[in-house]
Amino acid sequence: MSATTTQKRGLGTVIWDYMTTVDHKKVGILYLLFGGIFFLMAGVQALLIRTQLITPENDFVSAGLYNELITMHGTNMLFLAAMPLFFGLMNYVMPLQIGARDLAFPFLNGVGVWLFIFGGLLMNSSWFFGGAPDAGWTNYAPLSTQSPGHGVNFYVLGLQLAGAGTIISGINFIATIVLMRGPGMTYMRMPLFSWTTLVTSILILFAFPAFTIALFLMQFDRMFDTAFFDIALGGNSIIWQHLFWIMGHPEVYILVLPAFGIFSEVIPTFSKKRLFGYTAMVFATFLIAFLGFMVWAHHMFTVGLGPVANALFAIGTMAIAVPTGIKIFNWLLTMWGGSIKITTPMLYALGFIPSFTIGGMTGVMLGSTVADYQFHDTYFVVAHFHYVIIGGSVFGILAAVHYWWPLMFNRMLSEKLGKLEFWLFFTGFHLTFFIQHFLGLMGMPRRYWVFLENQELDLGNLISTIGAYLMGIAVIVLLINVVLSYFKEPAPRDPWDGRTLEWAVPNPTPYYNFKHTPLTRGLDPLWIEKMEGDGKIKPAEPLHDLHMPYGSILPFLMSLGFTIASFGFIYQLDGPHGRILIYIGMAFAIGCMIVRSLKDDYGYNIPKEVLEKEDD
């Protein structure tokens, strides 16, 4: 979708187009749009948190509102901002990188994105329906089962919908990468970003169902008086912690592996060298994912699982540092002797390496069980996970947005503003979180509404808040950059002198992606053609009719039905009228499924003659 075509059509047409789309590129843009909105909301919530903590015993927000803010900040950032932003990039870029014309299940892709959007809107609508969730993003029982009002119910149902969308997308990505790679695109020629998409999807596939069940148990306990977490009837609240972290720990790798993939694209492109140790990078990705599944209990060292369990999980945790270290050294060696060009994406990559390494080091410190008893629930933990999630995932997302913006929106983002944004963000980030290590070591607990005066915490908190505002300004600079880019000239094709297949398509990307099925002759296929050929990707077969799927409004309506039913589940607690909503919503959603089953959808063909008239 190029900006020039949008200008020619009415706004209504464009909105209808996006509501019914099954095109992986438009679905990707939907993910980016709504992920971006949730990112901004969570960012504002972070600024409110930091404003509250700017001075000791501040009363900027009430204690209850503070709890809601920290809960919504964490939940929004992890489930509704970072992950969907990566999903947007994967959706847009991965099929182009492997030479595919769409995902394996375009219709399901639509279902996934609308479930995420409606789930996110449902959870955030809680602000207008009597209060947001307030039991922390981890939502530990029994705090969450005792939390009054509907807040936690919105958390449960919103994340249930978004989580279902996530699993659907994960299945789709795996099937696409396994079955739809273009001719010559063997596994070991796949760009690292596609590799990390595959591994991330595998993580999602096996991690998220545990959370689905945890949410069901929580829903039953809160809405139907079951006793899973009710000690009086023999329940056990540790079950929530286990199920949550069985999802929650792989989740942090779900968030960081795609960023690793992005940097593995950005660094070779701007160093003009192929990725150092490609095979080791792939192997390390798998090793991180594998180990990531066996360390969830390191979030639970202080629960009292016993020394044997704690020791095993501590060893597992420290072992993850090895494959991560392999990656760090490979990125450094990729740059070694390269002809490095400092652009905004490259700046983020350069900022990422030391920042993430610091986060990894504190991770190993936290992985030591004995030390963890001191660090647990202090700002040291807060500093650690912001170092890995901002220093890893957010830097990755920002690098990718600058890097792939010309591909996705046919415009260049300003490099001047981009570099300004980087320096503001980078400075603000370290200012905010570096000091928090020391605040934590001095004993400042996380999640507390206020801290007392004259405990040597005042200055540190002030510095931290100033840093947070710098990051806020950086995001505003990015938004200005985005708006200004709209008025620019269209970007040239392949503006970064790229190495992979996504840069071989015309700009703007045609809706069928590749006119000719591309032939991959090795790792970094476009670079090979630039060095050994005429710079153009060779067609793998003669031009022929292309088959395309039809768009459909059903994914939108189906997700809407589930959302109505979710409101029903929440409000049946207040009286029978809620039950009516459940019936209406479920009937609507199931009706859509039946329509989908009954109505044949063969798709359509783009004739060869039409394609011949298009640009290469």
Partner: protein, 214 residues
């Protein structure tokens, strides 16, 4: 993707003289669906594993209410196991006939599969009603009650979903016969149905057999 595969995306009546060996995987869509359902079942495995874990953790938390030994009787469970495992076998027959391009026999065996599933479901409803009326054992009674009804009920919910799916599928295609568009749909259903049976084998062992010995 080759030329043949690309145009193969639309449905083709199967030509008996050169019938594909497996019509459910004759088109790219069929191949995608075949892999997709396997991946989906992988994630379903984790779903049920989480429920089994919860059940095992809570099965002795009866809070003074009925225990596993009070409740379970193997006669009914044996019958249910028989019904569901046989339905898996009949769905294999159905897929066998699909591969021989014999639509009528496929529908017949799929129909028998559905009837066996319905019988299983009836037994399960009877079982739950029995526990509730005769023992006052509900999913609010104790943590064990919550875990039992959630695990077995989730499985029952999967059976209901599978049966609804099968009914829609059979009715939709009753008059059109087998083609490369609907063959993958029967194939994915059959795989899903096998998965439900496998889960039941674990429920039979972990819930009922282990429950009998305490």
């Amino acid at each position: 993707m080759s030329h043949q595969e690309t145009i193969g995306r639309s449905a083709h009546k199967i030509n008996p003289n050169k019938a594909p060996i497996d019509p459910s995987r004759a088109t790219p869509e069929g191949k995608y669906k075949h892999l997709g359902i396997w991946i989906f079942l992988g994630s379903e495995t984790v779903l049920f594993a989480s429920l089994f874990g919860t059940y095992i953790a809570l099965k002795n938390s009866t809070a003074g209410g009925p225990t596993t030994q009070d409740l379970y009787g193997l006669e009914l469970v044996f019958l249910m196991t028989l019904l569901l495992l046989t339905s898996s076998l009949t769905s294999v027959y159905a897929i066998y006939h699909m591969k021989n391009n014999n639509f009528k026999k496929m529908q017949l065996w799929m129909g028998i599969t559905g009837l066996l599933g319905l019988a299983f479901l009836a037994c399960e409803i009877y079982e739950f009603a029995h526990y509730i009326t005769d023992y006052g054992f509900t999913f609010r009674s104790s943590a064990f009650g919550s875990a039992f009804y959630t695990l077995v009920g989730f499985h029952g919910g999967h059976v209901i979903f599978g049966l609804s799916w099968l009914i829609v599928l059979m009715m939709r295609n009753a008059k059109r016969g087998l083609d490369t568009y609907n063959a993958p749909k029967y194939n994915t259903f059959a795989l899903y149905w096998h998965f439900i049976d496998v889960v039941w084998v674990f429920i039979f062992t972990v819930v009922y057999l282990m429950g009998m010995v305490g």
